[in-house]
């Protein structure tokens, strides 16, 4: 339409001399270029899946899938008598994750409740970005903190039997890192609870605590569950804190005081050594990576699904 005017209009107005065909062509080219940017994200996903599959399939030519998934020994570094049972790594991952969530869920949820139900608008403007900083601190810094401050502190005060590398410190510090994730996702859903629900309860004589715990939290539960799942997924994929502070011993234990190795820490251990390409040890990091990818992907899907299907509609 605009182009029509340009074509038929007299070229007296200097601005209007544009060549409509060139404009059309440029328009088309721009659209294709922008679309290519958007499709790159799909390509990235394909790339991840392809790379993981390619090397993992090679790995499973050497090691049986059943042994990989059910074996309780992991000693990949020792050539010749290598054992590839992923359970110790999964166990280490779940142990640190559980500790982290025990920290992050109550603290994050409390922060969300405080920010949305109690804090004044002014305090909120300061507190929220301050909490976000926690998520912006590089994880290698948290690792340093866990190893050089938290572990010695715990060892000197309450837990003399703590080993230098342990799941507890790593998990605790990781929990602090995840607080903003849990807080901001839960806060979004708490914020979405309509005012009328709160005011109705106040009118019936409820106190602020009663409104928060019996009206707001149940109404926002889907979002809180999603925040929990997202936090778990973060913790499972977190690498540097556990690589630095949790140790490098793939043992099947639930003792938080001892040294463990997570899946991510194993990948770091192998990747920072000199492992020739094409060897089984090299392929193990892709097999472990695939396991990690599938676990986080499932959690992310469940969390997404939870928000969509259990959202209370007002």
């Amino acid at each position: 339409m605009a182009v029509e005017v340009g074509r038929k209009g007299r070229p007296e107005a200097g601005d209007w001399r544009r060549n409509s065909r060139a404009r059309h062509l440029r328009e088309r080219a721009v659209k294709v270029a922008l679309a290519a940017c958007a499709y790159l994200s799909v390509l990235t996903t394909f790339g991840i899946v392809a790379v993981l599959l390619f090397e993992t399939l090679d790995f499973f030519k050497e090691v049986s899938l059943l042994k990989f998934l059910t074996g309780t020994e992991w000693s990949a570094s020792f050539q010749g008598q290598a054992e590839y049972g992923i359970l110790p790594l999964v166990c280490g991952t779940l142990l640190t994750t559980a500790i982290a969530i025990l920290v992050a869920l109550p603290l994050g949820l409390s922060a969300a409740i405080y920010l949305s139900e109690y804090a004044s608008a002014r305090l909120r403007r300061w507190l929220k970005p301050a909490l976000e900083v926690l998520a912006g601190v590089p994880t290698v810094v948290y690792g340093y903190f866990a190893l050089t401050l938290v572990t010695p502190f715990l060892k000197d005060t309450i837990l003399p039997s703590l080993s230098v590398f342990n799941a507890l410190s790593a998990g605790l510090v990781m929990g602090v890192m995840i607080i903003p994730t849990v807080a901001s996702v839960s806060e979004d859903s708490i914020y979405a609870v309509p005012r009328t629900l709160r005011e109705g309860a106040y009118a019936l004589g409820a106190t602020r605590r009663e409104v928060a715990t019996r009206i707001v939290v149940p109404a926002a539960l889907s979002g809180i569950v999603a925040a929990f799942i997202l936090g778990v997924s973060r913790a499972i994929g977190e690498t540097m804190i556990v690589a630095i502070a949790a140790g490098a011993q793939p043992v099947l234990t639930l003792n938080p005081l001892s040294s463990v190795q997570t899946m991510t820490a194993y990948i770091v251990q192998v990747a920072s050594g000199d492992t020739p390409r094409g060897t089984t040890t090299y392929q193990t990091i892709f097999a472990v990576g695939s396991t990690l990818f599938v676990m986080t992907l499932l959690l992310n899907i469940v969390s997404y699904w939870f928000v969509r299907h259990y959202r209370e509609k007002y």
Partner: protein, 307 residues
């Protein structure tokens, strides 16, 4: 609503006259306790952050001097070790990552927000981007190792700063896309309609009006994403950042170190002197992050004032 509401009614139904506690003071007392508990819980994270910063700066700041900034790492005389190659490596990574990720991210956001039809393909892309944002960073490292270092090794130079930057670009793309889209979304549709009505094409409206208006938000998100990229360690370890070099990167295909990698290497050493070096490295890293974040805030303020 139904659930929460039902619970209250139930309680009220159950309540006989004798159950009703007219005394409200214990409930108010409990209310105050609860307020205190959630407030303290909110502060825990901030206290930990403060302790962390104080601890790191106490250990590291005395070590940060000109020699540390311009010196090279050394295993033999750790007292004179410096962070120069890692600092330069991180700056190279920052520059290259920005070069790749900013146009790609903004382009993708513009396409999704302004061009794409609301069909299944668009939804696939959207869900896909949301999922990519949740993929652990170390998985991106494996992607970079498989694609940029191995398959495209002859182009990128293998374990080069280029491979590292490409990997980090893919890692932060989802963040940039989401930030830019939010920013575009907040522009009223009257701007688009006005531009089109005056005979501008879609791209002319985007280039002349939407992008300048969306810039503050997009830039803030982008710089925050870039600062995340500077702090990343795990993917760089996987794509083969060097743990020891006595030179700064000489080009995109050169070997490289990065500040987080240098910190990690120092932490891994058992001697205490290296722990101090690690703390000093962390101070440098935090200062770099602080600078980039201030740039983000300043740019946003500047553009906002102009708009």
């Amino acid at each position: 609503m139904a659930r929460a509401g039902a619970r209250i009614t139930q309680e009220n139904d159950r309540g006989h006259a004798s159950d009703f506690k007219p005394s409200i003071s214990p409930r108010h007392w409990l209310d105050r306790v609860f307020t205190g508990v959630v407030f303290v819980a909110t502060l825990v994270g901030l206290v930990v952050l403060a302790v962390l910063l104080v601890d790191v700066f106490k250990d590291g700041l005395p070590k940060v001097n000109w020699q540390f900034i311009t010196g090279y790492p050394s295993q033999i005389v750790p007292e004179t070790a410096g962070i120069y190659p890692a600092l330069l490596g991180s700056l190279w990574l920052l520059g290259l990552t920005a070069l790749f990720s900013v146009p790609l991210g903004i382009g993708a956001a513009v396409y999704l927000e302004e061009y794409s039809a609301d069909n299944w393909l668009t939804r696939v892309i959207e869900i896909n981007i949301a999922n990519l944002a949740g993929v652990p960073s170390i998985i991106y490292g494996l992607l970079g190792l498989g694609i940029f270092v191995s398959v495209l090794g002859s182009l990128t130079g293998g374990e080069s700063v280029l491979s590292g930057a490409l990997t980090l670009s893919l890692l932060i793309l989802p963040v940039i896309i989401v930030a830019t889209r939010e920013s575009l979304k907040s522009i009223p549709s009257a701007v688009r309609e006005g531009g089109i009505a005056l005979g501008a094409t879609r791209w002319e409206v985007i280039r002349g009006h939407l992008l300048p208006m969306a810039l503050p938000g997009a830039l803030t998100g982008t710089i925050l994403a870039l600062s995340r990229a500077i702090g990343e360690t795990a993917p760089l370890i996987v794509v083969g950042a060097a743990v020891y070099l006595n030179y700064a990167p000489e080009g995109p295909r050169s070997d490289y170190m990065a500040i987080p990698i240098q910190i990690f290497t120092w932490i891994e050493q058992p001697q205490d002197v290296f722990k101090t070096l690690a703390a000093a490295g962390i101070v440098v890293l935090m200062v770099v992050l602080l600078l980039t974040n201030s740039v983000a805030i300043l740019t946003r303020n500047r553009y906002q004032r102009r708009g």
